[in-house]
Amino acid sequence: MYFVSFILKNLARRPIRTVLTVLGLAVAVGSMIALLAVSYNVERSVEAAFDSRRVDLVVMQKGKPMGWDSEFSEYFVRETAKMPEVERVSEGIVGNANIERDGVLVDLGILLVQGWKPDNFGYEDLEILEGRRLQAGDRRKVMIGRTLANNLKELAKIGPIGHRVGDTLTFVGDPKNPYEIVGIFKSPVIFEDGGAIVPFEDGQALHSKRGKVTGFSVRVRKSAPDSHAEVETVKRKIEALRDPDDPYVVVVADTPDKYVQSVSQLELIRAVSWLVSAIALAVSVISLLNTMTMSVLERTQEIGILRAVGWPRGRVVRMILGEAACLAAAAALVGTVIAFIGMQTLTQMPKVNGFIEPDLSPWVVARGFALTVLVGVVGGAYPAYRAARLLPTEAIRHD
């Protein structure tokens, strides 16, 4: 017999209790893993997009961390483009819009509609699945992301609504100007798939931001691929710009990774996922403490015998910690499965659809496992201490 076999047999003694404990822990651990994965995936996909679009700086209005409430004059874009160190700029207008059907709003949750110029960096890694991309001279045309396309297709089963190339969509507030769907795309940025892209000028009109941009991306001419000096220079120059017509508007230029860190939606997701994780971990520790303490108290006599036959305290501690760790490891396994199924289910829901990728990165799973093992050790520590303190003579006295 191996020491581990003994530990497993101890757990098998009360199978229902063991299974229930594992399930309880697994639900907590699963939700933790799922949330960590959501925040991880969103951040990674945004970072990856900036990376593949070779963006060196992201310029937004200072003090508007929500991203799409950033707003400043096109003057900044023009002045930046003139800088000798700047290779290219790519501006965009971003906002939430709603689609209506026969004058009635269609609930699609958050619908991100971006306005892009024909040379936007975003086109470089956009995959056109159907139809075509927007071209110069296009007006009142729209490209829809594949997730939005699917959501509209579902809605089309209930009542007529545009969802195919050639169909039209009507935005709330502009009923007289239907937009023709020219293409369906797939973006590396997951939440772009849930939204739509219109020509830049249409975007300004739609979001009531004539002459304004939400932000812009900058490609810097660099002496070496990872040289930071030029980027720093451009950053300082952009941040020093003042619009003569509105000198109170200040912009910030951040590198993409810093920008992702500062976006408050992402920060919120991160904060919520850590908060919920902390609660899940606390619940897990308490549940494990309960199970293991009960189990130790039940086995007072047995543990006394183990001491009597020569087991030192250390081995008793290892036995109890081992049992707790096994419960935690089983919970981590089941929890990962729960997280995976949970994320799959969540992605099917139209409201979240397009914001969450049902993807569990090994890094997130590893982090979940590490935290769960920690739960095992913490939750097993007190019961193990209780077990180690049992005196063999007390245990065997009630003969």
């Binding site: 017999m1 191996y2 020491f3 076999s5 003994f6 047999k9 101890n10 098998a12 003694r13 006599q301 047995e302 006394g304 015998i305 183990l306 001491r307 009597a308 036959v309 020569g310 087991w311 030192p312 305290r313 081995r315 005196l391 063999p392 003579t393 065997i396 006295r397 003969d399």
Partner: protein, 259 residues
Amino acid sequence: MTDNRSRNGHRNGVAPGWHSPHNHYLLFADRVYKTYPDGAVRALNGVSLGVHAGEYVAITGPSGCGKSTLLNMLGVLDRPDAGEIYFRGEALTTRCDLDHFRARQIGFVFQSFFLIPTLTARENVQVPMFEGPRRTARQRAQKADELLALVGMSQRAHHRPMKLSVGERQRVAIARALANDPVLLLADEPTGNLDSENADKVLDLFTKLQKDRHLALIVVTHSDEVAERADRVIKMRDGRVVADSGAEIIPTPDPAATS
């Protein structure tokens, strides 16, 4: 024995010189006192007792006279308030690795067996083997099989304690006590829960172990039949040894003289 004395003669905790009787013994209790924290009476009131290697000793006496307490002291499950236990001349109470010592030198048998219910007979016998001499899992299983054969339990090796008769359980418990080939077996009322037929089997086994393995046995018992089998019978009363059929009687000293 001489060898032991010369080796241990100068060690700490061992009174040197010809007048120290504990060097001759496998186990020697020297003026052992014990009062339980919540107990009004002295469970042990200066017990001195020597046991030779291979000796079969029975301890008898009325209920509550301190037999189990003494057995716990001899097996270093508990430390005395005063006095010392010597093993081959070496003082034990100052040792810090008593678990290690117990695992290798001492086997315990109890009235209610205390087998682990989730383990089969064969696995129960292996429990002490995690301590003691290094063995692989295969060697542990092999050793368990040998011991089960020795106690006549090979047929029931894969049964859990609940499926065994009480007599069988006690024989498995004896096999467990022998797991690390101890030199001393301590048994507290080993036949207390057995009918006379099963009790006889256990007692035959004890005699066999003493003869074949030169095992020293200290058996606490109420039963005259058990006591009859022993080489030597020690009678206790009120925490003291009042009679010892053995040749060497070590008188309990006057408590006033010891302090």
